[in-house]
C-alpha cells in the first residue's frame, strides 16, 4: 500500500480541483479581483500535477480504471487512464500551465473583461477537457464533450456585446453540436446490440464493451465516417472548418490558446480513441487511410493559404491551426494505410509523428496565440497593419514569439520540424506499398505536406515581419512596452516545452511508443528507442537519422565563427544612421508592406482557393477606393446553399400552417381516413 495516489487518482483529483476552483474562484473574484493571480497559479499548479500524472502514465504502461457512482442506471461513470489518455493529459497539463501563468498577468490588462465569469469558464473548460480524456463510457464522454463545447462557446462570447462575436459563437456551437450528434451516432453503432436481460442494459456503452463489439465491414465504415466527421467538425476538418477561424480569434487570447492549442487535440484524441481504441485497428480498412490522408493534405494546404491572407494575427493563427490539424490527420491516414496493408513499422511511425505533432502544436500554437494577445494589447487593435516594430519595444516576448515562429514553420532545430520530419520519413516508405494508386496517394500527401510547410514559413514571416519588425504603423504600436513578468514566465514555459520537444525527440518517442503499443499492439523499432537521446533513428538500420541537439550545437559553434571574422579582417565598429532606402528621402510607416500586399502573390497564384470580390474604382469616382474581399469558398458553395435548402424546407413546413380551422379539421379527418383505410385493406 502506497501513500501516493496512482496517475488516474491524481488526474481525478485535478479534475475535482479544477471543478471546485471554478466555482470557488468565481465567488472569490466577485468579491475582489485581487485574488486573480493566486487563483490562476493554483489552476496552473493543477496543470503541472496533471502533466506529471500524464508523464508517469507514459513511463509505465499502466491502464487504470475507476468507476464512480452516478450517471444513468446501469451505467455509472467510468474513468480510465491508459497511455493514450496519459499522452493527451500531458499535453493538456503542460500547455495549460503556461497559458494560465500568462493569464495571471494578461487578464489584469483587460479592464472590461468580466473576470469572475471568465475565470469560471476557463477552469470549467480545463476540467471538461480533462474529463473528455478520462471518460471511459459513451455517456460520460458525451457529457464532458458537450460541456467542453458549451464552456468554450461561453469563452468565445466573453465579449458578447459585439454582433460578430455572437455570430461566431453561434456558428461554433452549431457546428460543435453537429459534430456531437455524429459522434453519438458512432457510439450508437458501436453499441448497437440490443442488450440482453431486462434491465436497460446500458453497460454496452462502456468503452470496454464497445471495444469488444465486432461490427461488420459496412457498419465499421459507418462508425469510422461518423467519428471522422464528428471529431472533424471539432478539429476543423474541411469543409466543417468554417467556424474555427471565426470563433478562435474573438475569444480573449488565453482562451484562444486553450481552444486552438488544446481543445482541437481532444478531437484528435477522440478520433484515435474511436478508430484505434474502440473500433480497433483490426476493423479498419487500409483504403480508408487514403481519403483521410488526402483530406489532411488538402486541409494543410487550404489552411495555410488562407492564413497567409489574414491581417488579424489571431485569425492567421486559427487558419494555421487548420493546417496543423491537417498534418495530424495526414499522419493518421498514413498510419491506417500502412498498418492495415501490412507495414506496421511505417504505420507506427506515422501515427507517432501525428501524436508528436499534436503535442508540438499544443505548445507552439499556445505560445503564438499568447504572443498575438500581447501584440493586440500593445497596438490596441487586432489588425497587423497597425503593428510593427514591436520587437524593439518588447524584446523578451518578441524573442519567445520568434522561437515559436521558427518551431511552427517546421524549421530545424525546432520541434515542429521533428514531427514533420518523422511524417516525411514515414511517407517515404511508400515504396514498400503495393499498387501505384496507393503509392501516388502517399506521395501526393508528402508533396502537399512539404508545400504547406513552405507556405507556413512564408505566412509566419508575414506574421512576424509585419507585427514585430519594421517601424510602428500606429501610435499604439509606437508606445508598446514589454509585457508583465507572469506573461513572460507563461510564454517562457511554453517555449521551454517546445525546446524539450525539439531536443529530446527520443525521450518523447519512448512515451509515444507506449501509446502506440497500447493502441495497435506493435511498437516502434527497438533500435529507434535505444539509440540514445542524441540520435533519432526512425527506421533503422538503413534509414535516415537526425540529431537536433548536435545540429543546434554546430550552429552554436559556427555563430561565433561568423562573429569572429570581422575582428580578423578589420574593424567592427557600429554607427547609427538613418535608413538609406535606395536614397528615397521620405520614409513613412505606410510605405512598408501591409499584410494584404504581403499575401498578394499567394492570392494571385492560388486564386482558385479563394472567392474574391474586387472593386476597381472608376476614374470618375469621387472617392476612389480599391476594395478587395476574400472569402472562404465553402460559404458560397456549401453553407449558403445548405441554408437555403433548410429555408426552403422550413417554408414548405410553413404551408402546413394555414391558420384555417377547416383545413386543420381536414388534417384530422384525412389522417383518420388514411389510417382506417390502411388498417382495413392492408
Amino acid at each position: 500500500m502506497t501513500l501516493l495516489p496512482d496517475p488516474l487518482e491524481t488526474s481525478l483529483l485535478v479534475l475535482m480541483f479544477w471543478g471546485m476552483m471554478a466555482v470557488l474562484g468565481f465567488f472569490i473574484l466577485r468579491i475582489s479581483r485581487t485574488f486573480l493571480s493566486p487563483l490562476l497559479f493554483l489552476l496552473a499548479a493543477g496543470g503541472v500535477t496533471l502533466a506529471s500524472s500524464g508523464l508517469s502514465g507514459l513511463t509505465s504502461p499502466a491502464d487504470l480504471h475507476r468507476v464512480v457512482p452516478g450517471g444513468l442506471p446501469g451505467l455509472p461513470f467510468h474513468f480510465r487512464q491508459d497511455p493514450l489518455s496519459s499522452f493527451f493529459l500531458l499535453l493538456l497539463g503542460g500547455a495549460a500551465t503556461g497559458i494560465l501563468i500568462f493569464s495571471a498577468g494578461y487578464l489584469r490588462s483587460l479592464p472590461t473583461l468580466r473576470i469572475p465569469s471568465f475565470f469560471l469558464r476557463t477552469a470549467l473548460f480545463l476540467a471538461s477537457m480533462e474529463g473528455v480524456l478520462l471518460a471511459d463510457d459513451a455517456y460520460l464522454f458525451m457529457v464532458f464533450w458537450e460541456t467542453m463545447a458549451l464552456v468554450s462557446y461561453a469563452l468565445v462570447v466573453t465579449e458578447s456585446n459585439r454582433e460578430e462575436v455572437r455570430n461566431a459563437g453561434y456558428l461554433y456551437l452549431l457546428m460543435a453540436h453537429f459534430g456531437s450528434l455524429l459522434i453519438l451516432a458512432a457510439f450508437f453503432f458501436l453499441a448497437s446490440r440490443e442488450p440482453p436481460g431486462l434491465a436497460p442494459g446500458l453497460s454496452a456503452f462502456t468503452f470496454e464493451a464497445m471495444g469488444k463489439s465486432n461490427p461488420t465491414g459496412g457498419v465499421a465504415l459507418l462508425i469510422f465516417v461518423c467519428a471522422l466527421l464528428g471529431f472533424g467538425a471539432k478539429a476543423g476538418l474541411i469543409p466543417l472548418h468554417v467556424w474555427l477561424p471565426e470563433a478562435h480569434p474573438v475569444a480573449p487570447s488565453p482562451a484562444s490558446a486553450l481552444l486552438s492549442g488544446i481543445m482541437l487535440k481532444t478531437a484528435v484524441y477522440g478520433l484515435l480513441r474511436v478508430s484505434f481504441g474502440l473500433l480497433g485497428p483490426g476493423h479498419l480498412n487500409y483504403s480508408w487511410g487514403v481519403p483521410v490522408l488526402l483530406a489532411g493534405g488538402f486541409m494543410a494546404l487550404f489552411g495555410i493559404l488562407h492564413a497567409l491572407l489574414q491581417s488579424d494575427p489571431k485569425k492567421l493563427l486559427a487558419y494555421s491551426s487548420i493546417e496543423n490539424i491537417g498534418i495530424i490527420f495526414l499522419g493518421i491516414g498514413l498510419a491506417i494505410l500502412y498498418i492495415r496493408s501490412g507495414h506496421p513499422v511505417a504505420g507506427e511511425l506515422a501515427l507517432g509523428a501525428s501524436l508528436y505533432h499534436a503535442i508540438n502544436h499544443a505548445f507552439f500554437k499556445s505560445l503564438l496565440f499568447l504572443g498575438a494577445g500581447t501584440m493586440i494589447h500593445a497596438s490596441g487593435t487586432n489588425d497587423l497593419n497597425t503593428m510593427g516594430g514591436l520587437l524593439r519595444r518588447m524584446p523578451f516576448s518578441g524573442v519567445l514569439v520568434l522561437g515559436g515562429i521558427l518551431c511552427i514553420s517546421g524549421l530545424p532545430p525546432g520541434n515542429g520540424f521533428v514531427s514533420e520530419w518523422l511524417l516525411l520519413q514515414a511517407s517515404l516508405q511508400a515504396g514498400t506499398l503495393s499498387g501505384t494508386l496507393l503509392r501516388s496517394a502517399v506521395l501526393l500527401g508528402a508533396a502537399l505536406l512539404v508545400l504547406a510547410s513552405a507556405l507556413a514559413a512564408m505566412g509566419f514571416v508575414k506574421f512576424y515581419g509585419i507585427g514585430y519588425l519594421g517601424i510602428p504603423r500606429s501610435e499604439g504600436a509606437q508606445k508598446a512596452h514589454e509585457v508583465s513578468i507572469p506573461e513572460r514566465i507563461g510564454m517562457a514555459w511554453l517555449m521551454a516545452g517546445c525546446l524539450l520537444l525539439a531536443l529530446l525527440p527520443v525521450q518523447m518517442l519512448k512515451g509515444i511508443d507506449i501509446v502506440l503499443h497500447s493502441l495497435t499492439g506493435t511498437s516502434l523499432p527497438t533500435a529507434t528507442l535505444s539509440s540514445g537521446w542524441l540520435w533519432l533513428l526512425p527506421l533503422p538500420p538503413q534509414g535516415a537519422s537526425y540529431s537536433p541537439a548536435l545540429l543546434l550545437g554546430l550552429l552554436g559553434l559556427l555563430l561565433p565563427l561568423g562573429g569572429f571574422l570581422p575582428r580578423v579582417f578589420g574593424r567592427s565598429s557600429f554607427r547609427k544612421t538613418p535608413v538609406w532606402g535606395c536614397g528615397y528621402e521620405i520614409r513613412t510607416p505606410r510605405m512598408q508592406d501591409s499584410s494584404g500586399s504581403f499575401g498578394q502573390p499567394i492570392r494571385h497564384f492560388f486564386a482558385n482557393f479563394f472567392l474574391m470580390k474586387r472593386h476597381l474604382p472608376d476614374p470618375s469616382e469621387k472617392d476612389p477606393v480599391f476594395e478587395l474581399t476574400v472569402e472562404d469558398p465553402h460559404w458560397a458553395f456549401l453553407y449558403r446553399p445548405a441554408f437555403r435548402l433548410f429555408q426552403g424546407l422550413a417554408a414548405l413546413a410553413e404551408r402546413v400552417r394555414t391558420g384555417r380551422i377547416s383545413v386543420y379539421l381536414v388534417y384530422s379527418f384525412g389522417t383518420l381516413i388514411l389510417l382506417l383505410t390502411v388498417f382495413r385493406w392492408m
Binding site: G659, S662, L665, V666, F669, L676
Partner: protein, 225 residues
Amino acid sequence: MPPPFPQHLLANHLVGFLGSALLLSSFAMLAQRRMTSLVRIFALQGILLTLSTLAVAILSSESHLLFSALFTLAFKVVLLPAILFRLLDKLHIQGEVESLVNVPSTMVLGLGIVVFSFTLAAPISELASTVSKGLIGVGLASLLLSFLMMITRRKALTQVLGFLGMENALFFSAINATYGMPMVVELGVAFDVLVGTFVFGIFFFQIRETFESLDLKHMDTTSME
C-alpha cells in the same frame, strides 16, 4: 353473460329503420342551408335517438337504457335546441349557412363516406351480439358525416351543430353496439356535453363581442404571425 338474442324481426326492422333515419338526418344537416332548419333537424335527430334508445331498451330489457332515453329526450330534444334557438335569436343569426365547399360536392363526399364506413364496419358487425348488427356502420357514417359538416361550414354555430351531431352519432353507436356504456361513463359523458354546451354559449358571446360576427374566417389565424 350476453343477453338472449331477441329473434324479433319487427324490432330489428324498427331499429334498422331508426338507424337509417338518423343517417338520413345527418345527410340532411350536411345539405341544409338555413340555420333554423339545421337546429330543427338536430332536434329531430334527438327524437330519433330517443326512439332508437327506447327500442333497444325494450328489446334488450336493459333498464338503464330507459334512463338514457329519458335523458336524451330531455337534453337533446328539449334543452339543447332551446338553448340553440335562444342563441340564434339573441345573436341575430339568420339566413343562409355559408359553405366552403358547395352542397352537391359535399353530398358526393358524404356518399363516399357512407360506403367507406359500411365496408369498414362490415367485419365488426359480424361480431355484434346485439339486436342491431350493422348499425355500427351507421354510427360511424353519421360520425364522419358530422365531421365533414364541421369541415365544410363556415359559421361557428354550424361547427357546434356538427360537433353535437358527432356526439349523437357516438351515442347511437354506443347504444347499438353495446347497449350503452357503463352508467358512470354515460353520466360523465353527459356531464361533459352539458359543460361543453355551456362553454359554447360563453364562447359565442365572447366571439360576438370581439369580432361582431360568428363567421369563422375571423377565427383563422394566418394573420397572427
